[in-house]
Amino acid sequence: MRILKLYLQPLWNARLLLIYSFLAGFAILILAPFLMISLRSVGKGWFGKLWFPPELTLQWFQSAIDIGNIPEVLRNTAIIAAIAVAISTAIGILSGWAFGRRHLPGKEMLMAIILLPRMIPPITYALGVAKIFYGLDLVNTYLGVGLAHVSLCAPYAILVLSSTFEALDERVLEAATVCGANTLKSFFYVILPMILPGILASMIFTFTTSYNEFTLTLMTYGPDTVTMAVRTYLAIGEGYVEITSAMAVILVVPSLVILAMIQGGIQPEKLIGGFKGV
């Protein structure tokens, strides 16, 4: 036993090293593809077995913007995301109120149905949505693509805002009413400021969901409603690997900005000069 311990001791001492090597390997696994794409988007003459591009350039980004029509594509993406965020947030506020503040019969059942689009394979769901939207002439419209995104965004909004409303102190609302505020004034002066952090969190979630969404967009887009994700996908078929890489890098920027904001401790409630619960 003592001998065993003697032999294992160095290994035990090396456990930190082991843990860090494992983490480093994991990080490489996650970051490698991203690094690859980034290098590709700025590399020139990078062929064969070279470890690093021989020449760096920004011309692929210029080409992507010119050929890929990126400004218009980004505008489409923003409009569609805005529609998805607006509708989802509205749905989220109303359902969140109902789920969080009322005793609903069959609450669990309703929740399950709402979460369904997130549970079934996206392509199955997208095929169904496409069939309906062709019938309604919603394909290739901002509203159509936005609505398709709502089916994936709204569950997030509902979940986030349900817990936000659940955390609202009933007595504080009662205090507002006794102080003389009618329903409308209570909402604007008391409820809204108190749920604003939740609304902001829900908007960030729904925005990234809509912005990143590919499958549903692919089944409902048209020439006038190409989004960034779909445009990147189409570029693969066009055959210019460097330009496609440049688009992929542009595609990822907003998500990184949001991630950096969250990681940097910029909490949504701080953005609006608010508070942190009672």
Partner: protein
């Protein structure tokens, strides 16, 4: 202008089969502080919520200043309310919290300044007006709650267990502060609590509630000295009930026997010879005496002694299954097993029907 500020008329509220308020009739005078006192679930909070309009009564009416407000929405009732958990607006500073009722009523920032300042002065928190509620202690938060309730001089001040979330020392301090404030402003107030000491210390009158109905309404003294039921006697202060039998009575005095010993007590209504009744007395009214003769002397044996600092608590066995409790500050210490004589002063004895 009538003398009555608030009136509950036959207020009734059911939750399913539970009768939360059972035909409650109560009048509260202008400028009076009335306490609704009772154990949890007795309906005191339901009655208060009926007054604010947060609970719609199934039957009956509520009048404020002779005006039927039963169907008036909460925000039109011109009330000020203080909550157990303070219920301040977490996203507003102390100043904005206190200004809220004025802002809602459309008073401009400039015009409301003097009133907010005055309200903050009332509660001695002028220096903290820029703080947020989460930066204040519990006692400070509750003071802000008071200022917010009083700032626009409402008709009625409602206090829903306002001191329950504070520690014992602060609770006692704030009692006097609230009482003083209510007196100075002459505002009519309803105070809901389950703490009988708080009720006695604060109130002009106390209404004791039990399972949805009013058990007794009276001044703290009346409630303490002349409880009308075992429930009230038991709920307020220390109390001891000794089973007795009525031997005879006239208009003033009843003769009863406790474990074969004859005693006298002031007569009450509804007595009959041979009736089983409870002799109610406060343990601190009972005296331990040396003489065996005299009026209302009960012999017994000390069964248990408890040291309480300023006084001693004795459980004295009178007979098999009949015990009496004595609390006394007097010098001589008795030990377990000592034979003692209890003097129950006639004027301190009350006869109460068994429930």
């Amino acid at each position: 202008m009538s003398d009555i500020m608030i009136e509950f008329r036959n207020l009734t509220k059911r939750y399913g089969t539970l009768l939360a308020n059972d035909h409650v009739n109560l009048q509260i005078k202008r400028g009076e502080l009335m306490t609704l006192l009772g154990p949890s679930g007795c309906g005191k909070t339901t009655a208060l919520r009926g007054l604010t309009g947060y609970v719609r009564p199934d039957e009956g009416q509520i009048l404020i200043d002779d005006k039927d407000v039963t169907n008036l929405p909460t925000y039109q009732r011109q009330l000020g309310m203080v909550f157990q958990n303070f219920a301040l607006f977490p996203h507003m500073t102390v100043w904005d919290n206190v200004r809220f009722p004025l802002m809602i009523r459309g008073v401009s920032k400039k015009d409301s300044e003097a009133q907010v300042r005055e309200a903050l002065q009332l509660i001695r928190l002028e220096g903290l007006s820029d703080r947020y509620p989460r930066q204040l202690s519990g006692g400070q938060q509750q003071r802000v709650g008071l200022a917010r309730a009083l700032v626009y001089r409402p008709n009625v001040l409602l206090l829903d267990e306002p001191l329950s979330n504070l520690d014992a020392k602060l609770r006692e301090e704030m009692r006097f502060e609230i009482r003083d404030l209510q007196r100075r402003l002459g505002i009519t107030a309803i105070y809901v609590t389950h703490d009988q000491q708080e009720a006695l210390a604060l109130s002009d009158r106390v209404a004791i509630m039990k399972s949805g109905h009013l058990e007794q309404v009276g001044t703290p003294e009346e409630i303490y000295e002349y409880p009308r039921s075992k429930f009230v006697a038991d709920f307020i202060g220390l109390s001891d009930f000794i089973p007795a039998t009525v031997e005879g009575f006239d208009a003033r005095t009843a003769r009863i026997s406790v474990a074969g010993v004859a005693l006298n007590a002031p007569a009450v209504e509804g007595l009959s010879r041979g009736q089983k009744i409870l002799l109610f007395i406060r343990p601190n009214d009972v005296e331990l005496v040396t003489s065996e003769s005299g009026e209302n002397i009960l012999p017994g044996v000390v069964h248990q002694t408890t040291y309480l600092g300023d006084r001693m608590d004795y459980r004295v066995q009178i007979a098999d299954g009949v015990n009496a409790r004595v609390q006394t500050a007097s010098g001589h210490r008795y030990a377990q097993g000592d034979r003692v004589h209890l003097h129950l002063p006639v004027e301190r004895c009350r006869l109460i029907q068994e429930e």
